[in-house]
Symmetry: C2
Subunit: 105 residues, 2 copies
């Protein structure tokens, strides 16, 4: 699926880390929410509320998930899941394009 | 209007200048097309195809339009129009969030 149809897009961006991580929020007819974002090279730590499924749309993300002590590289087309109410680390070495889905549990 | 309803969003980002300028394309029911984008600090030159109306959603953009020889600062809530098939320059000193509308003439 290369596009999302019949959705609502929030105009204003979500901006983190001085703009090195930004995203736009997309809301689906069923209330589901995703963000489409860009990460520039850098090291980041994020906390989750809902469970998140992160899909790499372009570039790559080096990720350390909760409970792990090494980074795993996820490339275009790959996805990983982050548990609810947890923290994960990212090392980004090239511009990464991603889609994050928020999963209510 | 703080959100766009019943639109199609292209998942993959448009990436320029090593990711310092990125945007997502939004297509409306009537076929109209807009991009929602982020510019990080830097100096850029862009060329237009269609006429463009640029709305500043956050931060600011210092803009030199075609035929001008000085920059004008546009802040959140401001908008400016760039003629079709022309070039314009931007000096960005803070993270800027923008919406660009492409106008068929």
């Amino acid at each position: 699926m290369s596009e999302f149809n019949n959705v609502t897009v929030i105009k204003k961006a979500n901006v983190y880390f001085d703009g090195k991580v930004t995203s736009r929020t997309v809301v689906f007819e069923n209330g589901e929410r995703k963000t489409l974002g860009i990460m520039l090279p850098g090291e980041y730590e994020f906390g989750t509320g809902d469970k998140e499924v992160m899909e790499v749309l372009g570039g790559s993300l080096n990720v350390m998930l909760p409970g792990e002590n090494t980074f795993t590289l996820y490339k275009e087309g790959d996805a990983f899941t982050v548990p609810a109410n947890s923290k994960f680390k990212l090392e980004v070495t090239e511009v990464a394009d991603y889609c994050c889905s928020y999963i209510k549990e």
